[in-house]
Subunit: 260 residues, 4 copies
């Protein structure tokens, strides 16, 4: 029987040119999946190469992290792009990262949309279908990382893709399973041990506590480790230590699916 | 025995956003290889998709046409990029186009550097090696399209790549086989029939006449058809008509090499 | 008494790098105000210089035509930018054009937002205030060109700016004075004489006919001449000829206000 | 009699979008002139506004810091742009910053080219003339900050501009007054007290010691304080403390020239 495990995914390579990315060197050894920025909200060819190489060195699964084209806005602003524009923007970015995966001899495993594109894909079927269509067109064996229970998860599966549903251990949930808006009391969980406890319970029992204490059952196969918050490294270390104590392995969803 | 043939290559997809590319619709049926702009000097994801689709519809071999990152300068300005930067810029662009080739179900066949990068690669071994290394890293079966007799042809072969050497039927040559600088008398051949005659003789005899009448023997397997000059379509039609009369097939160098 | 007059405004300089703008050379002599693209949806420093110089040669009033930062989308896509981002994007673009106005020795007269920014400013008070605030901050004597009756006109005046209200002679209007959506029957007026008739009546009587024949009274001081539609030059010539016949001068709203 | 004084200038606003600039908040109170990035190698409209505001709050003179258009390369790579392209790129950037100066109610005082453009302008008369021409065209009362003894200083003066010559207290000089190349022994002075001593002697005696001890007489009116090196803040503090002890005021060259 496969050991109990969970994937920890982290956005990586989110620097640009002279501006270094957050602590990728320290975080990479602590996670199992890297969502690699592809130049539209962050990163550039040199940094993409270095990020894929760093992931490869630590045996971390490499995925593309495509965005709306908005470097100055870090991909956080909704752009009223057409589905066809979104589809082709995603093909472009996934293809570009595929180039570096080939150059570094590692498989491209998954695709996780970034920022405003992630949020739009979670709710808007046209956006979700555009992304799923792009991913399938480049490689139908790629995984799609999606907000748990989102429209993207549904549309991704409808397109024949495997979807890894994602939970946020450092974010508060409403009793209906949606994320509490930032600014709302309980919207952020900042204490590393509390985050670690949430990840461990999710991995062992498939349960995530809502802010009001409701037990939410979830099929989440991956937990997002933020790289751009203060204390990101400390939180990731706390999660790793806790999972080890609790007998939960950290490995990518793809590896888990294949029994590796 | 394979029929006598020559490849006609043409830069394609050199528009951007609201700005349409030169007469790609008219030229595509007339050539055998398309060098597709990848977003660094021209093109965008929507246009790359349309360009690959157009090539596919006409059975034209698809290649990447990577450039220095200089959209405003159309890739015509030398940038003092390091070899590592050039290498990764090429991986990025070739990968991005590979995404669209997969999405459209056509093979990616070759890579031809654009503009200032093409010129630098023809002379500078460090630039040539960076490009060859990038192409091999993405896919060692890709062809490299290079100026006949250039440093890029030499370095490309040293890297184990197949190289298609390129001649310019609408440019004048010095007796030593180098291109006459623009502005020099005889630097441009503009009369369609004259261009067609030059292509035909090259295909049949491997001979290109220098501006002074010297017969230059050349191994060129492909001739560049410019898309951005007035009369480009007329010149291409004249070449096609002449080759047909002379019993020379137009097919990509890759197809010729495989006896297709 | 000042002669009866109207301003004809036209977007100018909407090329980029190697891509030439629409027929600016032909249109410039036919209009009285040029809305000069500032690099965010189109244009580049070389083209901005040439466009300002061309306007100067024809005595055409120069205005800035700022946009959301979206070159690939030609500024036609809404971006969920914050008011502060919009304000600073407008300051940047207006300032950049001011540099060229100084370099060419012509005054900067007005500011007209482009595309999605124009549309957002017509309806959204926060966007309108951001633009008005930016324009006033750079130079409180600048005019603001706004959709007639729009939120931008209201907010611009509230900020102490002079506003030139704009009508579209080649677009159909609903009886309530709003533009008919493209695709709606009667949304486009394409016949040059019909457009010219509409401009002339607007200039002489302040009346614009709605698609259903309703007479709309309007304070519009300027009419937009599109540069990117087929037949733009023919339409502009028809307008000029008709206005001449009808004794209406073509001059900028600024000149009219100053009795020049 | 005006007090003995020197200008300390520092590149500011060299972040972009989500990427914060070096310690501008800490450095601004320590210098007298800020060279504000204008979006071509770093910065964006929001950051330009904040940088001008920060300079204004500390009474620091604001200058433009234009660059080749190369955000990914931070303006450090030579681009073979034509003089006309350089001239218009500079007009654009200076104009954009002028917009923010007006918006914040502070004068624009000077222009200092950045990176590869600074280096090219120091040696190449065509580049230097293009920059001088652009600056004069926007405002002939602007100062030009130039490498001491450079071609730009000569061409700037020939164009009628006032030039502030610049010395580098943290760089080693050869006996002929040129900068030692990075990597050369003695090329970098890293000890804060040593840098401070060099600045003070320059301010008091107009003497800069070469790496071999030669006393170089210099007309430098401004010293560059680097913002992007480790220990930049410590070095700046040491310089300020030393200058105060030695009775040298820190004020901008413009203020010194006007006896303010």
């Amino acid at each position: 029987m496969a050991p109990r495990s969970i994937d920890l995914n982290c956005d990586m390579g989110e620097g640009f040119g002279a501006w270094a990315p957050p602590p990728d060197e320290e975080l990479m050894p602590l996670v199992s999946s890297a969502n690699v920025a592809c130049g539209f909200h962050a990163s550039d060819p040199r940094l993409m190469r270095r990020t894929v190489r760093l992931a490869s060195r630590h045996g971390v699964a490499v995925g593309a992290h495509p965005s709306f084209p908005d470097l100055v806005g870090f991909g956080r602003r909704m752009i009223a792009a057409s589905p066809a524009e979104i589809e082709d923007d995603v093909v472009y970015q996934v293809g570009a990262l595929l180039g570096f995966c080939r150059a570094e001899g590692v498989p491209l495993v998954h695709v996780k949309p970034h920022g405003a594109l992630y949020n739009a894909a979670a709710k808007d079927p046209a956006v979700a279908r555009a992304i799923a269509s792009a991913v399938r067109a480049v490689d139908p064996s790629l995984w799609l990382t999606c907000l748990a229970g989102s429209v993207l998860a549904r549309e991704g599966r409808a397109a024949g893709l495997r979807c890894a549903e994602e939970a946020f251990a450092d974010r508060g949930y409403a009793p209906d399973g949606t994320l509490l808006p930032r600014g709302h009391p309980g919207a952020l969980v900042t204490e590393p041990e509390a985050i670690a406890e949430r990840v461990s319970r999710l991995a062992r029992e498939g349960i995530l506590l809502a802010a009001d204490g409701t037990e939410l059952a979830t099929a989440a196969a991956t937990v997002c480790v933020h790289s751009d918050t203060p204390g990101a490294v400390a939180a990731a270390r706390a999660i790793r230590a806790r999972l080890e104590r609790d007998g939960v392995a950290v490995r990518s969803f793809a590896a888990a699916a294949e029994g590796r």
